[in-house]
Subunit: 613 residues, 2 copies
């Protein structure tokens, strides 16, 4: 972890940086993340560790946490993501139609400064496989033309929208994906210098996964890099991964597929992206191969299910590592890549830690894509282990699915022991805090014909609770050894994100709507509050203009796990909702649709002196 | 006020009453209202005074009030009404499609016991003039067949629905209104003994207003009494009102109309109903005459715009008093009738206090319908006064509207200085607490032809802020003299209801979403909290199983004042939303759509001993 800048008045910080900046030249977003008071990107810092150095709220006083104000985002479908706080303004977005708000933190109850409701084609709604979620905004620092900076949001219908942060007026809107072909957009973009990088959803529609970079100021396309196809399209210029035999070779994105199946090869890119400014690499995962029916696409299906390291300015691949070759379980590899420097086997390593849907927690060397640790973080039974020599899973043959029959009792289910819900890391405890699912499944491949814009799923899945019956858990994980340190069981999945703080309190949300505060060392639940709806968003924290520390979280049930409640699907068919109803068909007994930001502070905590800000 | 029963354990009270009751014979709902711990009918007591004898939360400690838990009702349109609390269960309903919930107060976060979502025809949505609101549930005490009692809700599409309170299963559903003719249902029913009385909305569709009584157990119709037409239909058997010349005579519901216009004569009945068990009379108001164009319906248009006293078992009229003969302003007279015994001019009077949309605060003798006090509670300019001899307003001729031209600058506007938002009364301060609008208007009649199920408005209205520019106020009122005692100005209307408590704290909500606590004596704002959305519901209070006092309020902007935000109508046309957009076109800058119950308690207040419950 970097040394933190001493707390200072944000306004002054911004003003000073602005004065130094030439007109039209961006401030450094990295520098802004050094202020612990604000939260300028989705994971707070580029390493997506969701760790705050703030300490006002700690294990002693967290029991005094109470809601300070609340805000309805005006939509009811699943609310993923989290707000940003830049200076004294909070920015947040909603599920479809992706409303964007700026709230004034200097005023009682944080009234709106502006709101923006994008015009979107409602025909996109059924194209979203797993609810019409949005994972939030990205921010570009102030420029001469945009004195409060620019906000970016990926619209479900496939546009990248840029808004002036001061006025809420559109800067530009560019078409990046075509929902008529099944391509949608749900993830939070990544801003690096003058580049905005957007992903794509639609792995159930035979789309071709990719990341696309745009000029932050005018939205013109800088580059596009696919997950499948020839190296030129994938932007592989050298050896994809020098550590593993099966990942060396030319045009593996074509040769590991049958015929032209790579053209509808999936490998979507809707997770949280991280970035290492020193290495100038950004990291993300690619999703399941197109069609869930493995029999229809022999081969490794590269580069679906892979971890990527790319140069943000050129898109060029530094390395890529495929976790689940020839996926037969929809172990969509999009989950975030946390960047932490760790001591492993007595050596300091620039590590990347990733909790994959396939049930393994990976620790890699992020400079070269070599796996250092890969251990199950839940009761995995489809593979015995990850072979560190080949980089490939050691599969359990009877759990490999096929279209020849139903394969029963596979753990984890397609939804993974962790799905999109992002984990956190505390440099104080050196532990990862992982919100998990505990769901297994039956899976049967089904022959499916590709037709643009039509579902290309090709499998019947029925999910059910994993061993123990609890459908989720919040766990602490040591990534140097690949071991759980503690576990908090949850009845439903811990489908919201985690927040770690220097106050040694870790926060997470549950599908029932509880926001919980936990002792980072022991996993003891110290406090909880019932928000209006199930939480699938991510808690975040900031210092308000009054010098007090606040915790904010979106509630609003939905996403894949909550699709039954969000879309009003009954529990009669356990294969409905791509199998989710089998595991979560009763979620409606525990929560209701909603869309509210709840912001917490310590009750009657004395306001800090001005110097505290 | 009645002497209160000493606080006791509700369960014991219910059990004792049940033991005494014969199978199938109802407990006495009146007796249940004597427990200050629960809230078994919409206004807490039959007098709809929205007064709680609870004192845990008082002027000294109310600053420590914090949210204890929250619950999303799963719909976004305007949330009027308030929950009921019976024993340890909270019951609440939502805007269309009128979801009903039972929440278990004995468990952390009050999880659902059951929920019920009525199947309704979505074609009813555009038939609702002023948002698809619902004003809440009515409760019938336990019977042998229904050990937790029965709940009643009026569905927007026109059905009275009865649900078993223990299981949430339908007891019956009867059609009471036909939305194809413009008839909808939005108000909270009234339960008296074995009778459930339901109202009707649709005054903008030329419906014929009425109240209908049903058998509480099986839903068969007991009687129906119209607001217009022959005395037999209106259930007038004697002199309608012996105090006033113009209200004596036979079949005035026909003779004060031209031709058969009384058949589409309006006089809807969607307000809050009160009941006097001693007099065995229930009280309510009837709304505007059919078509807002006065030129099209010469005459007094009886009995629109009237206060009614009826026998709940037969429907027979005891007396009726028309406030606004030949209405030319849509001063829909449905606002609630509060029943209070007051000392007026040295005499103790069984009074009825009513704040009408026409801007006058009325105090009547509720035994005979005689007006004792009628004074403006806002800057009225359409009438100089109410003549206490004739019972009629002394009009200002230039403010009488017509279809011959636009009449400008009328105060109050059609929405009234008070609309549906119910007021409260404290027997401690002897003051009424009235949430008000401060809105004026221009009004022009327009010739309109009746067609069943089509709007029959017949006027173009543009509303705008009243004198001073504040669009609302929360006021304290002395009904014995007809004078304001104090005023709290609000930027937007105080469009939510009021709650008075024996702790000398009065609560009310604002369209911005603030719940405010006020010193009952001085009107000093002691505390406020920003709920997720604008408040148009009513705060209520109860004692939880832990012995602590809770305050609960629904937020969710909508209703007539909030129709712009609720229905997504822009502010371009100030006559849109039946004129509301002219006054509230900017409401979306202050709030967003929502639907959340927020429940408050004192932070860290020690739980009371069992005897405190």
């Amino acid at each position: 972890m970097k040394q933190l800048a001493p707390p200072m008045y944000i306004g002054a910080l911004v003003a000073a940086s602005l004065a130094a900046a030439s007109p039209g030249i961006a401030q450094d977003l990295s520098a802004m993340t050094q202020s612990p008071n604000q939260w300028v990107m989705t994971g707070r810092t580029y390493d997506v560790n969701r760790y705050s150095p703030l300490t006002q709220i700690n294990t002693t006083n967290v029991t005094h946490l109470v809601p300070s104000w609340t805000f309805s985002v005006g939509t009811l479908r699943g609310q993923e993501g989290n707000p940003l706080v830049v200076g004294n303004v909070m920015y947040l977005s909603s599920s479809f139609p992706n409303k964007v708000y700026a709230l004034d933190l200097t005023k009682d109850g944080a009234p709106q400064i502006w709101q923006y409701t994008p015009e979107q084609d409602a025909n996109v709604i059924p194209i979203a496989c797993c609810d019409v979620v949005n994972r939030g905004l990205a921010y570009h620092p102030a420029t001469a033309d945009h004195p409060a900076g620019i906000l970016y949001i990926e619209l479900l219908q496939g546009d990248l929208l840029a808004l002036d942060a001061k006025t809420g007026k559109k800067v530009y809107q560019v078409k990046s994906a075509d929902f008529h072909k099944g391509e949608t957009m749900t993830n939070a973009p990544l801003v690096v210098k003058n580049v905005v990088i957007a992903g794509i959803s639609g792995g159930e529609f035979g789309v071709r996964g990719r990341v696309t970079a745009y000029d932050a100021m005018d939205g013109h396309e800088l580059w596009r890099a696919y997950s499948t196809g020839p190296d030129a399209d994938v932007k592989i210029t050298g050896v994809p991964n020098q550590n593993y035999e099966s990942m060396r070779g030319k045009d593996l994105g074509v040769s590991t597929w049958q015929g032209d199946e790579w053209m509808r090869g999936g490998g979507t890119t809707w997770g949280w992206y991280s970035y290492d400014p020193e290495l100038n690499l950004f990291y993300y995962g690619s999703g399941n191969p197109g069609t869930w029916n493995p029999d229809q696409r022999p081969g490794d299906n590269k580069w679906s299910m892979s971890i990527w390291a790319r140069n943000p300015e050129t898109g060029e691949v530094k390395w890529v590592y495929q976790m689940t070759p020839h996926d037969a379980w929809d172990y969509d590899g999009v989950n975030e890549m946390q960047l932490v420097d760790l001591a492993i086997g007595g050596k300091q390593v620039k590590a990347l830690v990733h909790f994959d849907r396939n049930g393994f927690g990976y620790t890699l060397d992020r400079t070269n894509g070599k796996v250092l640790v890969a251990e199950p973080y839940g009761p995995v039974n489809w593979a015995k282990s990850i072979d560190l020599t080949t980089g490939r899973p050691v599969e359990v043959p009877e759990k490999r699915t096929t279209a020849k029959g139903n394969t029963e009792g596979i753990c984890p289910a397609a939804i993974g022991f962790k799905d999109q819900q992002p984990s956190a890391y505390s440099p104080k405890t050196k532990l990862f805090y992982v919100p998990t699912n505990n769901i297994c499944m039956d899976y049967e491949g089904v022959e499916v014909k590709y037709q643009a814009g039509q579902p290309y799923v090709g499998a019947i899945v029925r999910m059910f609770p994993g061993p123990g019956g609890n459908r989720g858990a919040f766990i602490a994980w040591d990534a140097t050894t690949g071991k759980r340190v503690w576990t908090i069981k949850e009845n439903l999945a811990a489908y919201g994100g985690a927040l770690a703080t220097a106050g040694d309190v870790v926060f997470y949300g549950t599908m029932e709507g509880w926001l919980k505060a936990v002792d980072a060392k022991t996993g003891k639940v110290l406090w909880k509050f019932k928000t209006p709806s199930g939480i699938i968003g991510n808690p975040m924290t900031y210092i308000g203009p009054d010098g007090k520390q606040y915790i904010a979280v979106l509630s609003g049930i939905g996403g894949w796990a909550g699709i039954g409640v969000a879309a009003g699907i009954g529990a009669e068919d356990p294969t409905a909702g791509l199998g989710a109803l089998g595991a979560f068909g009763d979620a409606g007994q525990f929560t209701t649709q909603g869309g509210v930001l709840t912001v917490f502070a310590l009750d009657n905590a004395p306001a800090k002196a001005a110097s505290g800000r």
